[in-house]
């Protein structure tokens, strides 16, 4: 394994190359563009034996991926923000037809006003699409989880599309040290895609029938049950990954939560800055820790409940706004997950980091302080937007 200084987007493309993707169909959109540009380059240079389909829209990108995955090819695409929105209806089809498409999303705000910068609005519009969704915090995690995604999605017990989220710019455009796996290691970890229902003249399947009301509910229930079962495979794949590569991943990860009364909750690349803030606050004598969600879907109810069981206060940072709703979308889900518990922390919804707005270590300290103040004194509002100017 060689440690290299490389842009995260490039490292991700290289990882997709190490996984021997067969078909890549993609459309350029900031901040995802470097990923697919580099893949196109790898194909053009003969470094990756794949078909690169430079489609005319994201809708067609994912549609071409459906066709490719249905034909049994290992299939990858990447998008961001508006592109993910344009794919929206196709997203549901990929999961309900059980096509293991792997997609990287360089998370970006949604128009309008037009913003190419990062937040989680695009993710939050895709909560119910039936894709396995993994969040990453640094380049290494992006590379590792891209590799895991193929193994998870293509597993015959799973057969589901997987999304790897990397925050736009804050992750996609950063050059940092990444241990790039060796090809032999990846080959040993990942077997060749063997999609059991591939479009094949020797064994013709009809894929994509319509379902009358008498079977639709059952079809969705079957999908949901299989989706829930995928969690065991995800855990298994992460364990295998640890054996092979030495790095481990969990659905919910914590940082210095031992004995902490007050927990901060984050998802994505801001978690690293938040860790630095936790260090500082701990040094200042505060009883704080950090909980980070890695597995967004299937939602890890048990692991989350366990991670926050001893806390008094939980301050949740969302990078998306549910306009007219109950607060940050992630916070809403956390509230729902913890509601049945007798003993649960007070939960405060803070929204920040919208459309590329930075959150520094000092800002995180502020957020924590303000959150605890709300937890103690209450607030007339369902949530608070951090740092909004009047």
């Amino acid at each position: 394994m060689a440690r290299v200084g490389v842009e995260v987007s490039i490292a991700l493309s290289e990882a997709v190359g190490l996984c021997n993707a067969d078909v890549i169909a993609a459309y350029p959109i900031t901040p995802q563009t470097h990923i697919v540009e580099h893949l196109a380059e790898m194909v053009a240079d003969g470094e990756l034996d794949a078909e690169y389909i430079p489609v005319e829209s994201e809708h067609s990108a994912l549609s071409a991926c459906l066709g490719s995955a249905a034909a049994g090819a290992r299939t990858f695409t990447a998008t961001a923000g508006q592109g993910l929105e344009l794919m929206h209806e196709v997203l549901y089809v990929a999961s309900s037809m059980r096509l293991p498409v792997i997609m990287a999303v360089a998370n970006r705000a949604l128009s309008g006003p037009l913003s190419v910068w990062g937040d989680h609005s695009d993710v939050m519009s895709c909560r119910d699409i039936g894709w396995i969704q993994i969040f990453t915090e640094n380049g290494q995690e992006v590379v590792d989880n891209a590799i895991c995604s193929f193994k998870i999605g293509e597993d015959k017990r799973v057969l589901l599309p997987v999304m790897v989220h990397l925050d736009g710019f804050h992750l996609s455009h950063v050059i940092e040290p990444i241990d790039m796996p060796e090809r032999a290691q990846v080959d040993a970890f990942l077997s060749v895609n063997d999609y059991p229902y591939a479009l094949n003249p020797d064994n013709p399947h009809a894929m994509g029938d319509f379902a009358p009301p008498v079977v639709f509910t059952e079809a969705k229930w079957a999908q949901e049950q299989d989706f829930q079962k995928s969690k065991a495979v995800i855990l298994e794949v992460w364990k295998d990954f640890e054996k092979q590569f030495g790095r481990s991943y969990k659905p919910v990860e914590t940082y210095r939560t031992e004995g902490a009364e007050n927990l901060l909750f984050t998802m994505g690349s801001f978690s690293e800055t938040a860790m630095a803030a936790i260090d500082k606050m701990r040094d200042d004598g505060m009883s704080v820790g950090l909980v980070r969600l890695r597995l967004w879907r299937p939602f890890p109810f048990e692991e989350l409940r366990d991670a926050v069981k001893d806390a008094k206060n939980l301050i949740v940072l969302d990078r998306a706004l549910s306009i007219g709703g109950p607060g940050g979308p992630v916070c809403s889900e956390i509230k729902a997950a913890l509601y049945p518990l007798e003993k649960k922390p007070k939960i405060v919804s803070i929204i920040g980091g919208l459309g590329g707005r930075d959150i520094t270590v000092a800002n995180f300290e502020d957020i924590m302080k303000r959150g605890l103040e709300i937890a103690e004194k209450g607030s007339p509002n369902e949530y608070e937007i951090y740092g909004v100017r009047a």
Binding site: G5, P177, I359
Partner: protein
């Protein structure tokens, strides 16, 4: 040198400020350090003032991913930016300011006084002479090495090869020439 430093590069779109940041990060990572490089996340086009950033840590993985507003080092790739751009914004007391300029070092010393270590080099002339183009990204890396000792010139061999291929040698020559020609005004100690 401190164990953890932050650098801000000022250039114009197309001058290679992003490449400079990338190369120093790769040189540092190649030496086993931790480093980040990232551009200003904007839609700037060719010619527009742009920034890029580095974090370099000797011994610990870098956690912060936010922007850099109080750098230890500022490098200015385009002489005209000194006048129009707010290049000294947030530069820490005792930090280092490195400028591509035809003006003598003393001009900036008298301008900025003793707040920062100041280094100057006519990188444009070097780049034009040795590379044939007015792209000073690698040349200014020579000035950065001279002024800060952040890395050795040999640390750039691999990153340059990787980035420039056949043109690596020419860029190395430009870097070396800048290393020789950069004038540095040290801070008074104490």
């Amino acid at each position: 040198m401190k164990h953890f430093i932050e650098i801000r590069w000022h250039g114009r779109g197309g001058q290679g400020a992003v490449t400079s940041a990338e190369l120093i990060a790769q040189a540092a990572i190649g030496k086993g350090k931790y480093a980040q490089a990232f551009p200003s996340f904007g839609p700037e086009r060719r010619g527009a003032p742009v920034q890029s950033f580095n974090r370099i840590s000797d011994d610990k993985p870098i956690r912060e991913r936010s922007g850099i507003s109080e750098p230890d080092i500022v490098v200015v790739l385009d002489p005209s930016l000194v006048i129009i751009g707010n290049v000294i914004s947030g530069l820490k007391e005792g930090g280092t300011l490195i400028i591509n300029t035809t003006k003598p070092l003393d001009y900036f010393v008298s301008e900025y006084g003793d707040r920062w270590k100041i280094a100057t080099v006519d990188a444009t002339a070097i780049a034009k002479e040795l590379l044939g183009v007015n792209i000073v990204n690698t040349t200014m890396l020579g000035a950065l090495i001279k002024a800060t000792g952040l890395a050795g010139i040999e640390d750039f061999e691999e990153p340059l090869k990787h980035r420039f291929g056949k043109l690596a040698a020419k860029n190395m020559a430009a870097m070396k020439k800048a290393l020789e020609e950069t004038a540095v005004k040290e801070l008074k100690v104490g």
